[in-house]
C-alpha cells in the first residue's frame, strides 16, 4: 500500500504539537545544520532578508499557494489535504517541509543500502572459464536488481511523501553532481552517491562539494581515475568549475589546468562489485599551483575551499536553487540576495530553500503554474492526485521513456528542465501513459490499433492468407513495437487496478451536472488552476463521453460500472492536455 500525503487530521495534530511545544520533531534523526544557521522558530531572521512578519503578510496564502509549494518543494498534494495547510499558514508548511524527519524504520535518510555480491573476488578468480561466465551472468542480474531497488525505492519514497523536500532537493542535486550508471557500471557506486547527496541535500553545499570530490561514482564518471601527475585529465576539473560551482566565465583555461593538477591522484580502489575513494600520493602532483589566484601545494580539498571562497560560487549555487524551484530565470538582485545568505550561513542550502519558500516573490504570477513538470513530477504527481496505486517500476520506466532516466542522464549537464521535456513524441506519450494509468490504453487497445493499421497498410496482403492464430501472432509482434506496450505489460503483470477516486468524489459531492463534475475532477487531477476555456471545452467533452456510454447527467453520482468508464476516459483526456503538464 502506498501512503500518500499526510491526512488533514495528521497535519492538524502535528501543528498542534508544534505550536504548543515548539520543539523539533526530528527525534533521533541526525541534524546537519551548520552552526551559523539562524534560528527561525521565533520569527526573527537576521541578515538582508525581509523579516518574517512582512513576508507572511505579503504572501497571497490560499489554495493555489499551498498547491504551488507542494508542487515545487514536494511532488504534489492530494486535493483534500490542501485546506488544512491553508489554515495552518506558510510558516507551518515550510517548517513541516524543512524539518528533519523522524527516523522511520532503519535509517530513513539512507534507505538504499547496497548488498554485496554473494561471491568473493577469490571465488571468481579460482573459477574456470565456464564458471566465470556463469558468475558474470549472475553478477549482471545482481546489478540489475540492486539498481532497480535504488530507482524504485526512491520513487516509492516520493509517492509516500515521507520526506518530500529532501527527495525534491536530492533530485535537483542528482542533476547537478550527476553521474550515469552507463559509465560507472557498478550500481554500488550510484547508490553511495545517491546516499551522500541525500544526506546533504538540505545541508551544507560546502560539505556536499567536498564529499563529491571524493565520490567514487563521480570520479569514475569524469575520468579522474586517469588523472595523474604528468598525464593530467582535465575532465573533472573543468566540470567542477563550469557545472558544479562557478559557472562559465568565472575561471580561465589556466585555472582548469591547475585545478586538474590539484586533483591528480584522486581515484578509486575497486574491489569486485564496489569501489572506495583512494588518494594515491604517488600519482599526485604535489608541486605548487595557482588556482584562481590562490597559490599553494593544493590537493582536492584545497580546490574545494578555493572554489567555495569565490564570489561566483555562492551566486552559482543560489541561482541554481532558486531557478530550479521557480522554473524561471532569476534576476541578479535575487541571486545576490540569496548568495549573501549562503555566505553568511556557510552555504546552508536548507536555510536558503526555507527563505525562498517564504519569499513572496516565489508566489508571483509569472511563477505559479508556469513550470513544465518533469516526467517524474508528472508521474508521481498524477499518482498522488489520482490516488493511483502504481508500481514504482512503472514510474521508473515511464519516466525513462519520457526522457528522465534516473541515474542515467543524457550527459554531464544532467537534464534540461522546463519546456525541454516536451517534444511531440513525449507529449503524446505522456497522454498514452495517462491512458495506461486509468486503464483506457492497454494491450487490447494496441492490438486493435495494430490490426487496423495492418489492414490498411499492405502488410496483411504482403503476408498472404493467414489463419486466425497467425494473424493474432502477427498483431502481437506489431503490438510490441508500440512504445507504451512495455508499460502496459508491467501493469498487467501486477494486476493493476485503476483508481476509483473520480467516482467516489463525484458520489460524495452528489455532483449531478457536467459543469460540477468538470470543476470537481479538474481540481483533483490538475496541479494548477485550469483556464475557463479549458473547463468549457471539457464540459462539452464530458457530455460526449457520457452520451457514448449512455450515462445521464443526473446519474453520474450513482454507483455504476459504466460511470467508472466515463470518468476514466475523462481523466485520460484531462491528463493528456497541456494543462496537466504544468505544475
Amino acid at each position: 500500500m502506498i501512503q500518500l500525503q499526510p491526512s488533514a487530521a495528521v497535519v492538524r495534530t502535528l501543528l498542534a504539537l508544534l505550536c504548543t511545544t515548539g520543539i523539533s520533531l526530528a527525534g533521533g534523526a541526525p541534524l546537519d545544520a551548520s552552526p551559523a544557521r539562524p534560528v527561525t522558530g521565533g520569527g526573527e531572521v537576521e541578515g538582508s532578508v525581509p523579516t518574517a512578519a512582512t513576508e507572511l503578510v505579503d504572501i497571497p496564502w490560499d489554495r493555489r499557494a499551498v498547491e504551488h509549494v507542494w508542487n515545487r518543494a514536494g511532488f504534489g498534494i492530494r486535493d483534500e489535504d490542501v485546506d488544512a495547510w491553508v489554515e495552518a499558514g506558510p510558516r507551518a508548511l515550510v517548517e513541516y517541509l524543512v524539518r528533519p524527519r523522524p527516523t522511520v524504520g532503519e535509517g530513513a535518510w539512507v534507505p538504499y543500502e547496497y548488498e554485496r555480491l554473494p561471491y568473493s573476488a577469490e571465488e571468481y578468480n579460482r573459477a574456470s572459464g565456464d564458471e566465470k561466465r556463469e558468475l558474470r551472468k549472475r553478477r549482471n542480474r545482481w546489478y540489475r536488481d540492486q539498481f532497480a531497488a535504488l530507482r524504485e525505492g526512491w520513487i516509492e519514497s516520493m509517492l509516500a511523501g515521507d520526506d518530500p523536500l529532501r527527495d525534491r532537493m536530492t533530485l535537483m542535486w542528482h542533476g547537478v553532481f550527476t553521474s550515469s550508471l552507463e559509465t560507472v557500471k557498478r550500481p554500488a557506486l550510484m547508490i553511495e552517491q545517491h546516499n551522500t547527496i541525500r544526506s546533504q541535500a538540505l545541508g551544507s553545499y560546502s560539505a556536499l562539494l567536498h564529499a563529491m570530490l571524493e565520490d567514487p561514482a563521480l570520479l569514475v564518471y569524469l575520468d579522474n581515475d586517469d588523472n595523474r601527475k604528468g598525464r593530467p585529465n582535465e575532465n573533472l576539473a573543468r566540470e567542477v568549475m563550469e557545472l558544479f560551482s562557478l559557472g562559465e566565465g568565472n575561471y580561465g583555461e589556466v585555472d582548469i589546468r591547475e585545478a586538474a593538477r590539484s586533483l591528480t591522484g584522486a581515484g578509486v580502489a575497486p574491489a569486485l562489485d564496489v569501489a572506495t575513494y583512494r588518494f594515491n600520493p604517488k600519482r599526485h602532483d604535489d608541486k605548487p599551483k595557482v588556482i584562481l589566484g590562490v597559490r599553494g601545494n593544493h590537493g582536492p580539498a584545497d580546490l574545494a575551499d578555493i572554489l567555495l571562497g569565490q564570489p561566483a560560487c555562492a551566486d552559482y549555487v543560489a541561482r541554481t536553487v532558486v531557478e530550479y524551484l521557480e522554473g524561471v530565470s532569476a534576476t541578479e538582485e535575487r541571486v545576490e540576495e540569496y548568495a549573501a545568505l549562503l555566505r553568511e550561513t556557510g552555504y546552508d542550502v536548507g536555510y536558503l530553500v526555507e527563505r525562498v519558500l517564504l519569499d513572496p516573490r516565489f508566489y508571483r504570477d509569472e511563477v505559479i503554474g508556469a513550470r513544465v513538470a518533469s516526467p517524474v513530477d508528472f508521474l508521481v504527481g498524477s499518482a498522488i492526485r489520482l490516488e493511483a496505486d502504481l508500481p514504482a517500476a512503472f514510474i521508473v520506466e515511464a519516466a525513462a521513456d519520457l526522457g528522465q532516466d534516473l541515474f542515467q542522464p543524457p550527459n554531464v549537464k544532467g537534464w534540461d528542465e522546463g519546456l525541454a521535456w516536451i517534444t511531440t513524441s513525449t507529449f503524446m506519450m505522456r497522454g498514452n501513459i495517462a491512458g495506461a494509468i486509468v486503464g483506457a490504453v492497454d494491450i487490447e487497445t494496441l492490438r486493435a490499433d495494430a490490426s487496423d493499421m495492418m489492414e490498411m497498410s499492405g502488410t496483411m496482403d504482403e503476408m498472404g492468407p493467414m489463419t486466425g492464430k497467425q494473424k493474432r501472432k502477427a498483431e502481437g509482434q506489431q503490438v510490441k513495437r508500440y512504445e507504451v506496450a512495455g508499460l502496459a505489460t508491467i501493469l498487467r503483470r501486477v494486476k493493476y487496478e485503476p483508481s476509483s477516486m473520480e467516482a467516489r468524489v463525484v458520489r460524495d459531492a452528489r455532483a449531478g451536472s457536467d459543469r460540477e463534475v468538470v470543476a470537481l475532477l479538474t481540481q483533483r487531477l490538475l496541479a494548477i488552476e485550469p483556464p475557463t476555456e479549458t473547463l468549457q471545452m471539457l464540459e462539452v467533452q464530458l457530455r460526449a463521453i457520457r452520451e457514448k456510454y449512455e450515462v445521464e447527467e443526473a446519474d453520474m453520482p450513482r454507483f455504476r460500472r459504466k460511470n467508472q468508464r466515463v470518468f476514466h476516459e475523462f481523466t485520460h483526456l484531462v491528463l493528456s492536455l497541456p494543462e496537466a503538464q504544468l505544475h
Partner: protein, 412 residues
C-alpha cells in the same frame, strides 16, 4: 478496456485524409512499380544505420589478398573462395550480396579504415565520440545530427525533421533546439483515444480570444507553447501514421526487426513526408566469441535488409535522393582472443549507399602489420564522412556543425 469501434475508424479516416492532405493518394503508392511525380518538398535524405557492439571490419570488407590475415586469424578469417570479391585484395562478406551487385552499379561507397585519434575501446565512450564528433564526447554538447538540424533548419523547424525508429534515440540526434521524434514504430506515434477531443486541447481552444487574467500570466505563457506542441504532435502524427498506413510495396522484406524498421523508413521517404534524417540501429555485433558464425549471420541479415530497402528506395525520386550511412562505434582487434572471437578494437569501414553516392573505394585499407596497440590504425577520420554529408546532402557548413575542419571526400 477497449476503445469503442467508431473512434478507431474515424481516426483511420483522419489519418488517411491527412496523408492525402500533403498530396498523397493511396493509389499512388499502391502499385509495386515506380512511384512517380510525387509532389512535396524536394531535398536529400539521410538514413543512419548503426551497427551496435563494434562491427568487425576485417570480416566485412575482407583483405583476402593479404597473407597475414589467415596467419593471424586462423579460425575467424574467411577463405578467398567464400568472398564476394571486389578486386584482388578485398572481398565483401558473403552475406552482403545485395551490396556487391550495387557496388558495380556505382551505388556503394566504402570508406576504409575509419576511426579517430586516441581511440577508446569502451562501447559507450566510443559511441559518444561518433555521436558528437568530438573526442570529448557528450561534454561537448548536442549530437552531430542535432547540431546539423539546429543549424540547417534554424528558421524552418519541423517536429518530424529527424526521426529515430526503435525506441530511445541515439545521442547523435540529441538536440535542445530541434529534438528528434523517437518512435518505437510509426504506428505507435499517436495519442490513443478520441483524437478529435484531443485536438480541442490544442491552440484551437483559443480560437475566440479569451480575456487574459494577469493572475495567470505565467501559466498562460506556458500553455500557449504546449498547445502549439499538441498541434505539431497531431499534425506530424497524421503525416507519419498516414504515410505508414497507406504504404504499399511489392518489395519483399525479410522478417527481421531491422527490416521492419527500414520498411517504415521507406514508407516515409517515398511519401516525402518531410522527414529528412532517419536513424535505425541493430545490435549483435559484439562478437567476443565464436565470431565466424555469429558475425556471418548478422552480415546476412544486414545485407538482406539493406538489399530490400534499397530496392524499395529505387522506386521513387525521393528514394533515389536518399543516402544510407552504415557505421559502428569501433572495429575489432586484429588477433583472435581465446574464444575464437575478437575483442574491442579501433578502425573499421563505413558504407554509403544510394543513387546519390559516387560509388567506389575511399580512404585506404589499414595495414595488418603496422598496428596501433594490436588494432588497425585508422586511415580516415570518420568526421570527414560527416563533413561530406553535411555539405553534400544538406548544403550546411561542416565547420559550424562539427566545430573543426575535416577534409571532405569526393563521394557525393
Amino acid at each position: 478496456m477497449n476503445l469503442p469501434k467508431p473512434d478507431r475508424r474515424s481516426f483511420l479516416r483522419a489519418a488517411a485524409a491527412s496523408a492525402a492532405g500533403f498530396g498523397l493518394l493511396p493509389e499512388v503508392l499502391a502499385g509495386g512499380g515506380r512511384v512517380q511525380g510525387l509532389p512535396g518538398e524536394g531535398g536529400k535524405n539521410l538514413v543512419l544505420v548503426q551497427l551496435s557492439g563494434g562491427n568487425d571490419g576485417l570480416a566485412t570488407v575482407v583483405p583476402y589478398g593479404d597473407d597475414e590475415l589467415r596467419r593471424i586469424r586462423r579460425s575467424t578469417a574467411h577463405k578467398a573462395s567464400e568472398l564476394l570479391k571486389i578486386d584482388d585484395y578485398r572481398g565483401l562478406n558473403p552475406g552482403l550480396g545485395a551490396l556487391r551487385g550495387r557496388f558495380d552499379q556505382g551505388q556503394v561507397a566504402i570508406v576504409e579504415g575509419c576511426g579517430y585519434p586516441e581511440a577508446v575501446r569502451s562501447h559507450f565512450k566510443s559511441y559518444e565520440v561518433w555521436h558528437t564528433a568530438h573526442r570529448a564526447g557528450r561534454i561537448s554538447g548536442d549530437g552531430w545530427i542535432g547540431r546539423l538540424a539546429a543549424s540547417r533548419w534554424a528558421d524552418e523547424p519541423r517536429p518530424d525533421r529527424v526521426v529515430h525508429f526503435g525506441g530511445k534515440a541515439p545521442y547523435s540526434l540529441f538536440s535542445r533546439k530541434q529534438p528528434p521524434v523517437a518512435l518505437a514504430s510509426p504506428t505507435g506515434y499517436r495519442w490513443f483515444g478520441d483524437e478529435e477531443a484531443y485536438a480541442r486541447g490544442g491552440a484551437a481552444i483559443c480560437e475566440h480570444e479569451m480575456e487574459r487574467d494577469p493572475r495567470h500570466v505565467g501559466r498562460d505563457g506556458a500553455l500557449d507553447k504546449l498547445r502549439a506542441t499538441l498541434d505539431d504532435a497531431r499534425e506530424s502524427s497524421g503525416r507519419i501514421r498516414g504515410a505508414a498506413a497507406i504504404y504499399r510495396t511489392s518489395v519483399e522484406y525479410p522478417k527481421t526487426r531491422l527490416s521492419a524498421e527500414l520498411r517504415d523508413v521507406a514508407a516515409l521517404v517515398n511519401a516525402r513526408s518531410g522527414t529528412q534524417i532517419f536513424s535505425v540501429s541493430d545490435n549483435g555485433y559484439d562478437t567476443h566469441s565464436k565470431q565466424r558464425q555469429a558475425h556471418d549471420r548478422k552480415m546476412g541479415e544486414l545485407g538482406d535488409a539493406l538489399g530490400a530497402f534499397l530496392e524499395d528506395l529505387d522506386r521513387s525520386e525521393a528514394g533515389r535522393d536518399t543516402v544510407v550511412l552504415v557505421f559502428s562505434e569501433f572495429g575489432r582487434r586484429v588477433a583472435e582472443n581465446g574464444s575464437s572471437g575478437h575483442d574491442h578494437g579501433k578502425a573499421g569501414p563505413m558504407f554509403l549507399l544510394g543513387h546519390s553516392v559516387k560509388g567506389g573505394l575511399y580512404g585506404a585499407h589499414p595495414s595488418l602489420t603496422e598496428l596501433d596497440a594490436g588494432d588497425l590504425a585508422f586511415t580516415t577520420d570518420f568526421r570527414s564522412v560527416y563533413a561530406t554529408l553535411i555539405r553534400g546532402l544538406f548544403g550546411a557548413d561542416p565547420v559550424a556543425v562539427l566545430g573543426a575542419e575535416y577534409p571532405p571526400l569526393p563521394l557525393i
